[in-house]
Symmetry: C2
Subunit: 476 residues, 2 copies
Amino acid sequence: MFERHRQAPLYMQIAEHIARQIDQGTYRVGDAIPSVRAGRKLFKVSPGTLLEAYRNLEDRGYIRARPQSGYYVRQRAGDMLEPPKPSGTARKPSPIQVNPAIQMLRRMAERDLLQLGAAVPDASFMPTRALNQRLTRAVRIHDRSIHTYGPPTGLPKLRQQLARMMAGYGCTLSGDDLIITNGCTESLNLCLRAVTRPGDTVAIESPTYYGHLITLKGLGLDALPIETSAVEGISVPALEKAAKRHRIAAVVVTPSFANPTGSCMPDSSRRELLSWAHRTGTPIIEDDIYGDLYFGDVRSTPLVAMDSSGLVLYCSSTSKTLSSGFRVGWCVAGKYSAQVELLKVAVNPTSTIAPQHALADFLDNGGVHKHLRRLRRQYREQVDRFCESVTRHFPEPIRLHRPAGGHLLWIELPKQVDTAEVFQHALAHKISIAPGAIFSPNGQFRHYMRLNCAVPWSARVDQAIRTIGQIVSELS
Amino acid sequence: MFERHRQAPLYMQIAEHIARQIDQGTYRVGDAIPSVRAGRKLFKVSPGTLLEAYRNLEDRGYIRARPQSGYYVRQRAGDMLEPPKPSGTARKPSPIQVNPAIQMLRRMAERDLLQLGAAVPDASFMPTRALNQRLTRAVRIHDRSIHTYGPPTGLPKLRQQLARMMAGYGCTLSGDDLIITNGCTESLNLCLRAVTRPGDTVAIESPTYYGHLITLKGLGLDALPIETSAVEGISVPALEKAAKRHRIAAVVVTPSFANPTGSCMPDSSRRELLSWAHRTGTPIIEDDIYGDLYFGDVRSTPLVAMDSSGLVLYCSSTSKTLSSGFRVGWCVAGKYSAQVELLKVAVNPTSTIAPQHALADFLDNGGVHKHLRRLRRQYREQVDRFCESVTRHFPEPIRLHRPAGGHLLWIELPKQVDTAEVFQHALAHKISIAPGAIFSPNGQFRHYMRLNCAVPWSARVDQAIRTIGQIVSELS
């Protein structure tokens, strides 16, 4: 069952196995897990390896040691907390304020910070070695041709590989249905432009990714924030109600592991959303950039796979899973394909060639599924550790919901705490966080913050979370 | 004077030397140039080398051999032709038709065609080996960091290198003034969006690059074509007159070697344009993508270097000089910098990292100036040969103007020839041309065509031009 040659260390495989048993209820809170003596035999490993596995589970909050007695499943501190309160629906659409966000972004991007602010995965989580080999190989094999223009919609072989990957989660597409872009933001821009005109109103999750807000702002679109739960995402009934009062040109949603909340829409809710879209003819722009990063056993089915109307415009990218610096995203624009293709030519007639070759090669035979399995395990562990550390170091009361995927943690603090201030104080300690207000078009969520968990866990990270907790205490 | 170790072959150096003497009037039409015997001594080369140089000058139309007499400067056939007639100014702005252009573009990009259609430099003109070395080196040195996000405005070292290059032609800028983009088209989009709103009217050259038209279309802008000479570019008096009748939100111009005409605005006309812009407060978007490809002794000064008002938004790219596939362009947005930076974040928060490293390295110490000198000589020779071949193979009457830079040739045919038909017939021979109508928002220039001269000269190319000439004959 546990093999020494597999990529994950043996202790990690055992910890993962027991964590899943706990998640699935094989062991319940209060149950003893196998003693070191019993576990040694059960897992056929040395006591050292087993102790390391148990230590890992302790750090993630799954178990606690009782002296002279053994290891017991505990209620994880994060799981006892209430999730952040669902947001409300805005009364009316509003233009978007992004200046504070832009200013904060500049600071968040500074190199010497511990980057818990921007949703940037540390490069150590990416298959950089394999991709670099393939990039170097692409340079050697394709030589001169990487310096010419390519087709506006992207290299056919990359489109095919991505279509094949999407087939794995229920999307029946051919490579021709995909348009390669310069990242998910370009996808979102093209799709929004295909279905809206400046001055239109776009319904969004509340809170929503500040990059979406900047994009809407750039396109002269107004935002209508819709009630959203940090657990189950956008409320379709609230959307329906709002759509009766306002003309909504499009909806932008991130059904799987939304940024910043990490919420994941249940299938029933996805179906409701699609059914509303069909009834009203409203295009739905689906951001699925975090979709591959699920912690459970199966990937959620994206809207585009459930849809037969062509009203779903699907946007994704390799930036959170393979390489942020390659800038390779894609979109599937349903019945708007021709418009999106025209707009692609109009804004960016070719995406950079060499990274497309390298990625197509990696997707073809580079072990992408193995990489993603490892990445999901790593992010899951990271999120566990962040949750544990936050619940240990932050003053009560806080609200948070351990996400079921992705690498972001959304935390609600007491009302009097302004996270723009937390942000400033944390900077003085060379730590960045993402203050809540940047996730709103009009400065809501001032007492929320988002943490990026895709920073390799270390004592320094734990200490940083303790420091943020102290800042929060002082401001409470 | 002529050195064996220099990059250009000896015969080429001699041909270039004599060609320049002819251009400058040292030898005039009818003059004899040195005989082979005299030339051998003068240039200290073998008779074979000298004959090769003279053969090159014959092929480019500079000289002709008279049996038993020697070599004489001739009137080059292309130079005897009239330039294409100046276009007119449109009565009113019009929305843009681009569907035929898009359809033709799809065919033009097919791989098995002789590419005289798209303005794509053959990769053999690019410093591909040096850039590939530097890309591989960037992968090795920067390793993991090429997979993370970079600053939205681009790598500081690349911005500095480009600012230094621009200093060489009179632009006093710091790296901070430049914004790296995903190519000139992205620059143009960002700049247009910073100064216009959908429904606005933008004055353009007539004809103008179809890519500009597609961009305007994508942004919902109307185009107002202004009278333009194939020799001296846009007519500023015509622009002034048009601006009295219509509200012009911005002007898009390519002062140096415009696409498709190859026209180059004289300095006086550039100053007039700037003075009008200052008087009226109208932003000028300058596309300088061909600016480095001058055939004379000095580079034309771009508008941005002559301007002190901040009204000029400068767009350029490395796509015509170093690598089209790297997708690295830049812009300098004057007083609109903050808006352009915001829009850059909104559409494309980072350009691909690895090519930026490779280019910065090449610009720093890769011999870019040596490369550009060679490239200018090569393009000049290419354009000469294309001119000669067209005047030899096309039925009279035609009009063309040998451009003073760039790699494009704009040809006016008799009115009855529809180059959309020429395009279709040429495709059957696996040759692409660019039909004139795609350079107009409303289907003008049907009896014009553009040829891309950046395809290495060969008997096949000559034969292709003969074939196009025959097609034109049949349709005349």
